[in-house]
Amino acid sequence: MSQPLVTIDDLHVDFPGRNGWQPAVRGVSLNLGREKLAIVGESGSGKSVTGRALMRLLPPAARVRAAALRFDGIDVLNAPERRMRDLRGGRIGLILQDPKYALNPVMTAGQQIAEALRAHQRIGRREAAERAITLLEQVQIRDPGRVARAYPHELSGGMGQRVMIAMMLAPGPDLLIADEPTSALDASVQAEILRLLDELVEQRGMALILISHDLPLVSRFCDKVVVMVGGRVVEQLAARDLAQASHPYTRGLLDCLPSLTHPRARLPVLTRDPAWFA
């Protein structure tokens, strides 16, 4: 492929604050082909806002500027709203942190998946319902018929997240943006969900942007890692080279985790350089 799937060049996002514009993203540039990219950073680093900007899902009050913001050749900054509606959900899927809030509480899992299908494809009600069951099978749900009839509150967190993934996969998107997809889940379920995402993305040849604050976890599932702090990208590297990360912030994030196999009396604390935020 000659041109990348996603091109972000010098993206700036500001929100109106009490004292004028408050920058959230300050000059982020990155390219993405059909690969798995992790955007890692702490709360307020601008990682989620970057993902949302690509889908034009930011509140109208936000000011978004970029030299280029393109998805598969489409100019996301200037595309008409109709075009964006086809992109959102249709070609770019978004998986959010907590299925408890992201799923519609008064629709069954099956209905929601079928709705996603019918929003983007011309298919009948019955066929959509059948395809919803097939999709639930693909996200490795053992009893897809029962889950399809269940309401979100009847599902566990891991199960809800599988439903969310099935729904996002339904229209066959080219890119999946997963924003902290496992932070609300148990450690064992976390690994299962990430492995599932990994497999599905591989099988379907999709691109994945995984947004997370857990650097070691995501680096195991992605090809490339982008580290953000204070609205800027401070380091971009191949996931396998993570141990050789050079930026003090990346090093700090890796060092401050308690380890099961390498005990330490005190955890090193990340010292934040004011220059990162200036």
């Binding site: 702490e42 709360s43 566990s156 967190g157 148990d186 450690a187 064992s188 379920v189 690994a191 604050h213 857990d214 650097l215 070691p216 976890l217 195991r220 700090g252 994030l253 401050c256 985790l257 308690p258 380890s259 099961l260 196999t261 005990p263 330490r264 005190r266 955890l267 090193p268 604390v269 990340l270």
Partner: protein, 243 residues
Amino acid sequence: MITAEALHVRFGAVHAVRGVSLRVDPGESFGLVGESGSGKSTVLRALAGLTPVSEGRLVIDGQDLARGRDRAFFRKVQMVFQDPYGSLHPRQTIDRILAEPLLVHGLPEARIARALEEVALSPALRYRFPHQLSGGQRQRVAIARALIADPSVLLLDEPTSALDVSVQAEVLNLLADIRAARQLTFILVSHNLPVVAHLCGRIAVMQGGQIVETLDEASLRAGIASHPHTRELIALSRDLEGA
């Protein structure tokens, strides 16, 4: 210091805790690990008196909790919750939040400044509201509130799992320092094995409302476990560490 004997907790038809017995010595730091629904938080809440006990005996510092909890109990035993935003009153200033336990126990308000200092919070934050603080600062306020009446037992329910990893390191260091300085007894509930191993000397693994195994920190780190569920949790943690 803390003893539970054959503790059972039922919520309607759900039997959440099924015969848990444990003993924690004074000054010990004890960890409870397990997945969601294993009953680990319910044990903690039963100790704090937030959940009624269906069966069994709980004794803290020689006091049988079946006879109720007096004011001295609530001075002795304090709890820190997972989500600091949910556990702080949104319309009260930090000053008001920290004054509450002092009012209840008839202690001088001069302790507020000292408590803020102990958790390394700037005095400038004293008259702010919780929403004006960062997640790490809020958890420090929750810890300050727990410490302000000089407890001897701290019950910690996933105190760092809602925080960024760098902030988690700061809060874990703070908890370790406070425990050393005040000779506190800790019970820490978490699903994160490295966090529990970092703070606790002895760890109980829960599954399906029961303790399936109790082991010390060294065995946990070395992977010397006899129960398959413990081995599973250890393998998963190691896998994620890339060890």
